[in-house]
């Protein structure tokens, strides 16, 4: 089987698996909505304050939702041994890993795009920032899945890797958070956001190329 076919086969398989367990698919989404709901309860229902905080709140919640969903990226494959089969296959592991990351994003990252506008309305984010919010989510949620994949690959062999995973991954998420919420913030005050979006795009493209390599190396370490 040529590598490109193997790549598509991995994506198809992961999507099918996720689709068979639809309840799990919805979990990061509920988590995202819940965390955003907690903020007005914690800081008080002051429209001005919430409007000012909206980009940050939405982005921190998206970050946490992505972090929570990361564990499912390699966990079941590690437990049932399919990961070892992938390692044994003649194809480059990094390409297969990229397929898995893309499938993971389609299942956990893409749905965030659908509820984000709703939450933005809850928090009173100005309408002119809505398009930018979408754009940053499209550009940056795949980035979260990609960067997170390295952390998961390093910790998948551990029985309790959850807290460790957040310690490894969250510092690496900082630039994404800064540029994404910064762009939404600027858009809300009517400023141009081209620079931030370009940087996010550049980070996404370089992560697409670079991330599969350390992830594959880390998976080899975890499986042995």
């Amino acid at each position: 089987m040529p590598i490109i076919q193997a790549f598509w086969a991995i994506i198809r398989r992961d999507l099918l698996l996720a689709f068979r367990r639809r309840a799990e698919m919805a979990n990061p989404l509920f988590f995202f909505v819940l965390v955003v709901t907690l903020f007005p309860l914690a800081v008080g229902a002051q429209p001005n304050l919430l409007r000012a905080m909206a980009p940050g709140v939405i982005w921190v919640s998206a970050l946490l939702a992505a972090l929570l969903s990361l564990d499912s990226l390699f966990r079941s494959d590690f437990d049932d041994g399919s990961l070892e089969q992938m390692l044994l296959s003649p194809h480059a592991l990094s390409i297969l890993v990229l397929g898995k990351i893309i499938a993971h994003w389609l299942v956990t990252g893409l749905p965030l795009l659908l509820v984000a506008p709703l939450l933005a309305v809850f928090l009173g984010l100005p309408e002119q920032a809505m398009g930018t919010l979408w754009l940053t989510l499209i550009l940056a949620t795949p980035l979260l899945s990609l960067i997170g994949a390295i952390g998961v690959a390093l910790t998948v062999g551990l029985r309790r890797g959850g807290m460790l995973l957040s310690l490894l991954v969250l510092p690496l998420y900082v630039p994404v958070l800064i540029f994404a919420s910064g762009a939404v913030d600027r858009a809300a005050s009517g400023l141009p956001v081209g620079a931030q979006l370009n940087i996010l795009l550049a980070m996404l493209l370089s992560a697409l190329v670079l991330v599969p390599l350390p992830t594959a190396a880390a998976l080899k370490m975890s499986v042995n």
């Binding site: 062999g157 460790l164 310690l167 969250l170 900082v174 630039p175 540029f179 350390p214 880390a218 370490m221």
Partner: protein, 253 residues
Amino acid sequence: MSWIPAPVSRFFHRTSSPPHFYALADRFIPWLTVIFLLLLGAGLYGGLYLAPTDYQQGDSYRIIYIHVPAAWMSLFIYVLMAVMGGIALIWRMKLAEVMLISSAPIGAGFTFVALVTGSLWGKPMWGTWWVWDARLTSELILLFLYLGVISLYGAIEEKRAAARAVSILALVGVVNIPIIHYSVQWWNTLHQGPTVSKMDKPSIHVSMLVPLLLMAAAFKFYYLIAVLQAAKLELLKRETTSQWVKTLLEKQA
């Protein structure tokens, strides 16, 4: 590795054997300690006694003689760890793994010292213990990167595998450090601009600069001493069953 001259490569191969390294470290540590103490004494004397009082900041600026070298070391050690990680991954050199692991707590310590001294300096100068300024924040994130390395190594039982995991993490981290640094800088800044690295004409007076550089050199030697001690201990822990450790213990008993 034909482009490396034979004596150099022979030196590396010999040094990378644990018993030889252990003996070499034992031989070096007293000399390094002497140099460290001399540099430290000269640096502190120059910095705390000879250097003039700053016309704006008074005597509280003198904390830079600890703060700035510690901050330099925190970055330097992380980069060094990434280099060690690369060596460990490519050549599977055990000694590079040991040095990488031994460096992590020292680097975290320097990062912590830089943060604490910065905070102590910030209270009289900025009127607050902590500001969310660019360099403080990226130093804090650097501390988290160090803690990630340390706890990942602690979490994996099998130490060779743990060392490989940590090597990968150090390399990923070192790619991210500039990105984090510049993104945080873009985000916000209050910290004073660089005063030493401006090559043409540093905006710090020579009488203040010389002790600073002395202290920086002293910190480098301190790191060398600490890392050699830690590496010696790590080697003993890893090779408890091997012959050279047994003979060494018998000799000392």
